[in-house]
Amino acid sequence: MSTQPQPEPTTPPPESGLPKVRFWMVCALILALALPLQLSVDAGLFPDVLNPYYLHLLTIIGMNIILVASLNLLNGYLGEFALGHAGFMAVGAYTAALLATKVLPGAAALPPVIGTIGILVVSLGGAMLASAGVGYLIGLVTFKTVGDYLAIITLGFNMIIVNAIQNIEFVGGPRGFTGIPKNTNFVAVAVCALLTIAVLRNLIQSSFGRVWVSIRENAIAAELMGVSIARAKNWAFTIAAAFAGLAGGLWAQNQQFITPRSFDYIKTTEILVMLYLGGMASLSGSILGVVAYTLLMELLRNLLSAFAPQLAEWRMLISPLILIIIMLTRQTGLLGNREWRWLRPRPGA
């Protein structure tokens, strides 16, 4: 997969005086900061430093991390080229929107915070289940296809989903789904993103993950070791789709308005760009790719609209250009398949 010489995973990390950062420490730090941050922005404290716009950016980054890390499971670890991730996201987004507006509005009678959290948890759970189901079916369909064929099938699936939603009047059709309550905030997104990273990290270090990597490395040898390729692939698709659905559910209840067009292959391409920018088969790469890309796009938006407002859309021309440049100059992405130390498995674990 990688053309880079890789560091030997065993070399004991050089002893430094600093205490070693562990995964749970990073999680605890982010969780401890998230709630005060959200509350002080809501209360309008320090409007110069804690701008709602910055918090919005962080929320977007969190949702994108869920999307990119779950796609990494398919494109990085399993070594397939899936092109339909926004389709899974659409399934999750519409399921969550439907649950939140049509099925669960009665829960609004509950005390405010508990009611919102309840609706959020149930709608996100529903979104994950629905897209996991669709992912399972896609896994079945792509049973024996690899490479180009799998890419085309998943691309076709993405188009089917978008076109189907466009023709369902019940969910707004091409006009989009309006009036979704804003049940999400930065805290919810942060919790979901950390949960995603934690689950994926553990999966990848388990025998599940080894099986996926072995299929990428040598599918024939993997089968000769007793790995059922069809079943392992199906699991990967189901899990990746579930998390894409989670991101979709969060997205719908954050933007409060979704249209089918926002989940077409352009969205898939955006997720791919972030994934390849960061580096394949590396969760650190997924996080770094998302942060770098999102910040770059926002900077470009501000920079370009400072010259002329109509120039702002030209940043969409720059993102494919970034993909081309990565492929020409640094195919392994920013991080290759290396992990930051706090995301790596503990030796002997």
Binding site: M1, S2, Q6, E8, P9, T10, S207, R210, V211, V213, S214, E217, N218, I220, A221, A222, E223, L224, M225, G226, V227, S228, I229, N337
Partner: protein, 236 residues
């Protein structure tokens, strides 16, 4: 007891017939060599037995049970291990992970530990290289890893495809000694080899394939003396 019986096995790649109905039997505890020139159908035979290729005709019996319709990955749990041509190790996984992956089917912790011990006793070099990436091993070590990986699956019948490929004569001897040791512990081996001299030395019986047909079979010592084998594969 007959461990494996191949009856009238025919395989083709598209319109090209690779095997025209061959017969082969392997008794428990034997080393059987399958000899033949390039393109004779040796690897095809192994791949057909481990169900990586669809059969066109004939049948394969493992412990008197037909395995014609059994998918490749479930054969591993039944006890057939296949060391593919070119070793097929996972280059970006460590030696430890390569072995752990092979134990995928093994749920019993005690037997798993025993399997590790067996592999390390046989190939102490692998124990030294546990944290190293598979792709950074030498050719001989990769072959040891491939054999070790098959051992980890706790197989009863090992199919070996050209274990001497690309190895120095010294390493070939080492690998073959290991195969004899494995056999002495009760493993049945079907060995496909270009190196007919070495293969017949350790085998009990042998078969010779030519253009997809079995042309000779017999005890290894007799085959080694057979003028046709001598001329075609051993040099005189």
């Amino acid at each position: 007891m007959t461990l494996l019986r191949v009856e009238n096995l025919a395989v083709s790649y598209g319109a090209i017939k690779a095997l025209h109905g061959i017969d082969l039997t392997i008794e428990e505890g034997e080393i059987v060599s399958l000899l033949g020139a390039n393109g004779a159908g040796k690897s095809t035979t192994l791949r057909a037995i481990s169900r990586m290729l669809p059969l066109q005709g004939g049948d394969i019996f493992y412990r008197d049970q037909s395995i014609k319709h059994i998918p490749a990955h479930t054969l591993v749990a039944m006890g057939i291990g296949h060391v593919p041509e070119g070793r097929g190790i996972f280059p970006n996984l460590t030696v430890q992970e390569n072995l752990a992956l092979a134990a995928w089917t093994q749920k019993n912790k005690q037997r798993l530990a025993a399997s590790y011990e067996k592999v390390f006793a046989l190939f102490p070099r692998l124990a030294e290289r546990l944290p190293q990436l598979g792709g950074t091993l030498s050719g001989g070590e990769q072959q040891m890893l491939a054999v070790g990986r098959a051992l980890m699956t706790d197989c009863k019948l090992m199919l070996l495809d050209e274990p001497s490929m690309g190895l120095s004569p010294l390493l070939v001897k080492e690998v073959f000694r290991a195969l004899q040791a494995i056999n002495a512990q009760g493993m049945t081996i079907l060995l496909v080899e270009q190196n007919a001299h070495m293969a017949l030395k350790i085998a009990h019986r042998g078969y010779v394939l030519e253009n997809g047909r079995m042309v000779l079979e017999g005890p290894a010592a007799e085959l080694a003396k057979d003028p046709r084998v001598k001329e075609a594969y051993l040099g005189t």
